[in-house]
């Protein structure tokens, strides 16, 4: 079977050197200036390969990944041999799991982190219930157990000077940007927290874009967005992948316009989500102005504890938070079930969300890294493997807990501290990853929930959940109130 990226060419490859060979002013509104400088001679786009300079100048559309000896077959498509991938935010839940995953596949992994996720969680008085090692120990274990050498620097993503130096040194061929604060409730605590989340997220990404322009313009940026950028429009309008399809039409006063390719409306649901929307626009513009290439990945709610690499040694485990700020919903449910707190669903529990397991998210990221966008392309994918109501998921967790772990799991409805629709239509479109990148979900919620119970019922981890059980129920209200939510209803059995 043909691999998903077989027909991509040097035009997409980060090893291409277009600088000075394509007149980037041709882009957009500067086109007129370019025409004048062109003269009468025939001009074709030519490029050089940074990995094979002996080829000289050639047509970048002439060689496909399938034909190029630098691209080798892998389970996730053709993969650029020893491809250099930098992960800002490498110490986090996703960053660490991806570093190990890519390292095992033969990628040359580098990363930065200033441990702010550890600090934010500690500041709230919480902790990761799956204990994680210090970075030096993590790196050593990665070397010993998996044979991976990770090039790590401790640094803040907003420290542009140091980040520029590191990027100049490593010359990454893809950057997977995970160095953002991923919490809606954390951004809603008070002004200080809202400002800190937006400063870190928006300015960190904006600075990175400038560095990429100057240091690695042919490198692709894989940036994590969130399905929450779209909100849940009550009209039931489908949540397209970032932009309207070509046959979407705006009718008004008897006239019509194609909406094809226009960014769809965004309706973020917290100041954290606003920071992601701001990122979307900054990246979109940078691609347009400077021909950067990016995939903006609208990830569904992530859950799970399993990849082959993180379970290989206790020192390689990735973090697992269950507090109201950093615990995602399924992760929190399993923790509650383990210590006998009824699973808390906010409001009606009929909120629909897209979800994706950790291992499936890693698969998606690898496929995207292997199939870089074209110069100037800002692409959006909705990354999820299915969608469910919060109530359905609570029922899955309750079922697995009762059936396989003999736990007396209850479910409770509590007041909803967020400002969101409890009941709403939901039609997410998530076709690009399967159709264009060959993504096939490998893990069902039930399977992954089972693995989570296996880990979280271990006595040492159960005891770490118990120590922080008072931090699971929300006290952060979108209104600014600080009080624990009240229980509205408790369900005993299915």
């Amino acid at each position: 079977m043909k691999l998903h990226n077989a027909d991509k060419t040097c035009w997409n490859c980060p090893a291409i050197d277009l600088a000075g060979k394509v007149d980037f002013r041709a882009c957009g509104q500067s086109v007129e200036r370019f025409e004048k400088s062109l003269g009468e001679d025939e001009v074709y786009v030519m490029a050089e390969c940074k990995r094979r300079p002996e080829l000289g100048l050639f047509d970048p559309m002439g060689i496909t990944f399938e034909e190029c000896p630098e691209w080798v077959e892998s389970p996730f498509g053709y993969m650029l041999r020893d491809m250099r991938v930098m992960i800002p935010g490498i110490d986090g839940y996703l960053g660490w799991a991806l570093a190990l995953w890519l390292g095992r596949l033969g990628f040359q992994v580098s990363g930065i982190d200033n441990y702010s996720r550890r600090d934010w969680v500690m500041e709230r008085g919480a902790h990761t219930v799956v204990p994680i090692a210090r970075m030096t120990e993590r790196l050593q274990a990665a070397r010993e157990v998996l044979g991976i050498n990770i090039n790590f620097r401790r640094m803040d993503v907003t420290d542009r000077g140091r980040l520029r130096e590191f990027i100049d040194e490593v010359k990454p061929e893809a950057i997977v940007h995970y160095a953002e604060c991923p919490s809606a409730p954390y951004s809603m605590i008070d002004a200080d927290h809202a400002v800190e989340v937006q400063r870190n997220n928006v300015l960190g990404t904006l600075g990175l874009l400038f560095i990429m322009r100057d240091a690695v313009p042919e490198t692709s940026l894989l940036k994590l967005g969130t399905m929450g950028e779209y909100g849940t429009p009550l009209t039931g309008r489908p949540l397209f992948e970032g932009m309207f399809p070509a046959d979407a039409v705006l009718h008004w006063e008897g006239r019509e316009w194609s909406m094809g390719g226009e960014l769809t409306p965004r309706d973020p649901v917290s100041f954290y989500h606003v920071s992601k929307v701001q990122d979307t626009f900054n990246i979109y513009e940078a691609c347009k102005y400077w021909w950067l290439r990016s995939y903006d990945i609208m990830q569904g709610v992530i859950y799970g504890v399993y990849t082959e690499q993180v379970v290989a040694d206790p020192r390689l485990r990735t973090r697992f938070d269950i507090d109201e700020w950093f615990g995602t919903v399924i992760n929190r449910f399993v923790a509650q079930a383990v210590i006998g707190i009824p699973l808390t669903i906010y409001g009606a529990g009929e909120q629909m969300r897209g979800f994706i397991g950790l291992q499936d998210a890693m698969q998606c990221m690898t496929r995207l890294i292997c199939s870089p966008p074209e110069p100037g392309q800002y692409g959006v994918v909705n990354q999820m493997s299915g969608y469910y109501s919060i109530r359905e998921l609570a029922e899955v967790v309750a079922r697995v807990g009762r059936r396989d772990f003999d736990l007396p799991v209850k479910i409770q409805r509590v007041e909803n501290p967020r400002v969101e629709a409890d009941r709403h239509p939901f039609e997410p479109i998530y076709e690009r990853l399967p159709d264009e990148f060959g993504f096939e979900p490998q893990v069902s919620p039930e399977e992954e929930v089972y693995r989570m119970f296996e880990l979280l019922t271990r006595p040492d981890i159960k005891s770490r959940i118990q120590q922080k059980s008072h931090l699971i129920l929300p006290k952060t209200w979108w209104s600014g109130d600080k009080r624990q939510v009240e229980t509205l209803e408790i369900w005993d059995e299915e």
Partner: protein
């Protein structure tokens, strides 16, 4: 046949100007989101009107000569060629209906 043809400065004359059937040309660029969005509709048109209409895409950044010749100042620009002449031209995203109207006189 029935596929969207990749046009370049080199093959434009042969594929478009010397074509026996009318040709719908999409002048596009990789940084242009409406251009990306139009891809499925173009693919559909190429299949539906196979034999009566050719559909091609020309990347304006990679093919400056053709772009300059036709003075393409914005993308996407959809142009209809018949017997070596450009007979219709629209700039900006077009819905399926709008593209069909553009093609009316040749289909």
């Amino acid at each position: 046949m029935g596929q969207v043809i990749r046009l370049t400065d080199r093959n434009f004359e042969q594929e478009v100007l010397e074509s026996q059937v009318p040709v719908l040309v999409d002048f596009w660029a990789s940084w242009c989101l409406p251009c990306k969005a139009a891809e499925p509709i173009l693919a559909e048109l190429a299949v539906q009107h196979d034999g009566r209409l050719k559909v091609g895409k020309l990347n304006v950044d990679r093919n400056p000569k053709t772009r300059q010749h036709y003075q393409i100042m914005g993308v996407p620009t959809f142009a209809l060629f018949r017997a070596g002449e450009m007979v219709q031209r629209r700039t900006g995203s077009q819905s399926r209906q709008q593209l069909l109207r553009l093609l009316e006189e040749v289909l």
